[in-house]
């Protein structure tokens, strides 16, 4: 039928260019990276042969395993910090603040997330020192205050990354908390549940999809972070992310960098596969 042919042509012309672009800039590059990760040398600099050596390197050399562990821990710590501070903030936004104020506050919380991350990381170098504006002011009003000089340390990386991803966690938790019908909590209360029970049995389970979504959207990019540790971490900066960056910008061992990248990507996909059923069941449960 000509109408079907015309329809198919329309779809092809509308969606084709964008997907060709994605193919050339994301999908083919990932395939090329996978191919490189199995080569002895980059095809640009020699005659490559097939090898598993780079993956073997990751699993046998201590420096990679240790730093992969450090990256995991960093992801875990930042995610937990973001949830601990972000979830209550999301709850306040969803249940205490009303109407136009809520909209304004939500915008204020989310705004930093979409502004320049590099600049925000840099701004922490102005704060985490005893000799800056904040340090001076703190010691002026409270002479015995503990030192806030934590630049070039692991805690500094934690602060910077928590600052970076907190808005996103607030947003995802807010969306699922706002979707909970308030009459459910009232019903639970009137049937004799304590506030603690209401939280554990009603609010927490219903907002779990938002928590998991926020956790994933924080954990994954934090694992791949290298700029924040480099600026804030000093000697504590070495993570799997910075090791990968190093292979591409300093050591120029692209096949090894590609293999390390795919190990990280594998961990990301594993995590998504693990959590996806949990989110999906909850999404369907809420919808039903």
């Amino acid at each position: 039928m000509t109408t079907t042919a015309a329809r198919n042509r329309a779809i092809l012309w509308l969606a084709g260019p964008a997907y060709l672009w994605l193919l050339a800039t994301v999908l083919l590059p990932l395939a090329a990276m996978l191919y490189f990760s199995f080569l002895t040398v980059s095809p640009l600099s020699g005659t490559p042969e097939f090898t598993l050596a780079h993956y073997r390197t990751f699993f046998t050399q201590e420096v990679y395993l240790v730093n992969a562990g450090r990256s995991m821990m960093l992801g875990l710590h930042v995610t937990l910090l973001c949830l601990a501070f972000g979830y209550p903030a999301a709850w306040v936004l969803a249940r205490v603040i009303k109407n136009r104020w809520r909209e304004a506050m939500l915008l204020l919380v989310v705004l930093p997330f979409w502004s320049n991350g590099l600049v925000r990381t840099f701004s922490w170098t102005m704060v985490l020192t005893d000799y800056g504006l904040i340090g001076r002011a703190l010691h002026a009003v409270w002479p015995g205050a503990p030192s806030i000089e934590i630049m070039n340390s692991y805690p500094a990386i934690l602060v910077g990354l928590t600052h970076a991803y907190l808005p996103y966690v607030v947003l995802t938790c807010y969306v699922s908390l706002q979707g909970i019908n308030p009459s459910l909590t009232e019903a639970a209360r009137s049937l004799g549940a304590s506030w603690g029970q209401v939280f554990l049995r009603v609010i927490l389970p219903l907002s779990l999809p938002g928590i998991i979504a926020g956790a994933m959207l924080t954990f994954v990019p934090v694992m791949g972070s290298f700029m924040e540790p480099r600026i804030l971490g000093g000697t504590q900066a070495i993570m799997l992310g910075t090791l990968i960056e190093n292979q591409f910008t300093a050591a120029f061992n692209w096949p090894l960098g590609a293999a390390l990248g795919f190990v990280m990507l594998g961990a990301v996909f594993l995590l998504m596969a693990l959590f996806w059923p949990l989110i999906r069941r909850h999404v369907q449960g809420v919808a039903a």
């Binding site: 779809i11 930093p112 001076r136």
Partner: protein
């Protein structure tokens, strides 16, 4: 809920906002401090903004950033609008798959996307440079553009277009006179978003920028690595004000809080 509790809850939110904004404010204030070594007490001066105007490298990097962001905005918004139109108006096998294909740029860490692009572009002879940075930025912006415009299109059905077509309008007239005006707020919002994504993007640009050619975030990063100067504060102040202004305009156009 008791009054006391409400006050506590609001104060908590206030503290979270302080945490989010105080570092940025401190950084901005220090851009106006006269001392090159960040020495206090504070002495107001705009000398560092004046220095920016004389910094050739930085000016060139800023120029590159703005051009890339504008080109990215034009390309990503056009391609994304077309995809959103196809998704909203047609049902076809493989649609879910195509929607899923938008996810990789969103969920894969930029470090990996960036290095993969570096490998592929080098291997195929595309090389590094402003052109490959643009290729990468469009790929990162496309999913967001499609999502923002699709959300707008869900707010009105295909009835207007069908009515126009049944009254004898050609497909182009339907698009130009009916679909486009209805989609317009979504398209403008998506365009602002695309500009901001490109203007703020660091990781992809970092891997794709060759020696000698630079764009703003990469230039700021290398200055930070060389040591802090108030000049970095000055340029950072400008960058963050621009991106926040863009996102406020975006939020006004797209009502992202989902209340309306």
């Amino acid at each position: 809920m008791s009054r006391m509790f409400g006050v506590l809850a609001r104060s908590y939110l206030g503290l979270v906002l302080l945490f989010l904004y105080v570092p940025i404010l401190v950084m901005m204030i220090m851009a106006f401090n006269k001392s090159p070594l960040y020495m206090l007490p504070f002495r107001f001066d705009t000398v560092w903004f004046g220095k920016l105007a004389e910094n050739e490298r930085l000016l060139r990097a800023t120029w590159n950033s703005v051009w890339i962001a504008l080109a990215n905005m034009a390309i990503a918004t056009s391609l994304g609008t077309m995809v959103a139109l196809a998704f909203a108006r047609y049902d076809f096998p493989g649609k879910r798959f195509l929607q899923g294909l938008l996810m990789p740029p969103l969920v894969i860490p930029w470090l990996i996307t960036g290095t993969a692009m570096l490998i592929f572009f080098f291997w195929t002879g595309i090389g590094r440079g402003l052109h490959s940075i643009l290729l990468g930025h469009v790929a990162l912006s496309l999913p967001y553009v499609v999502i923002v415009i699709s959300a707008r299109m869900q707010s009105f059905g295909a009835v207007f277009e069908e009515a126009a077509a049944s009254l004898g309008a050609t497909p182009w007239q339907v698009f130009r006179r009916v679909s486009l005006p209805l989609m317009a707020p979504g398209i403008v919002a998506a365009a602002l978003f695309a500009f901001a994504i490109s203007f703020d993007q660091f990781v992809i640009s970092y891997f794709l920028a060759p020696v000698g050619i630079s764009i703003l975030p990469v230039e700021i990063y290398s200055s930070i690595r060389q040591g802090f100067t108030p000049e970095i504060n000055a340029i950072s102040t400008i960058v963050i004000l621009v991106s926040m202004a863009l996102m406020i305009a975006f939020a006004r156009l797209s009502s992202f809080s989902g209340e309306r």
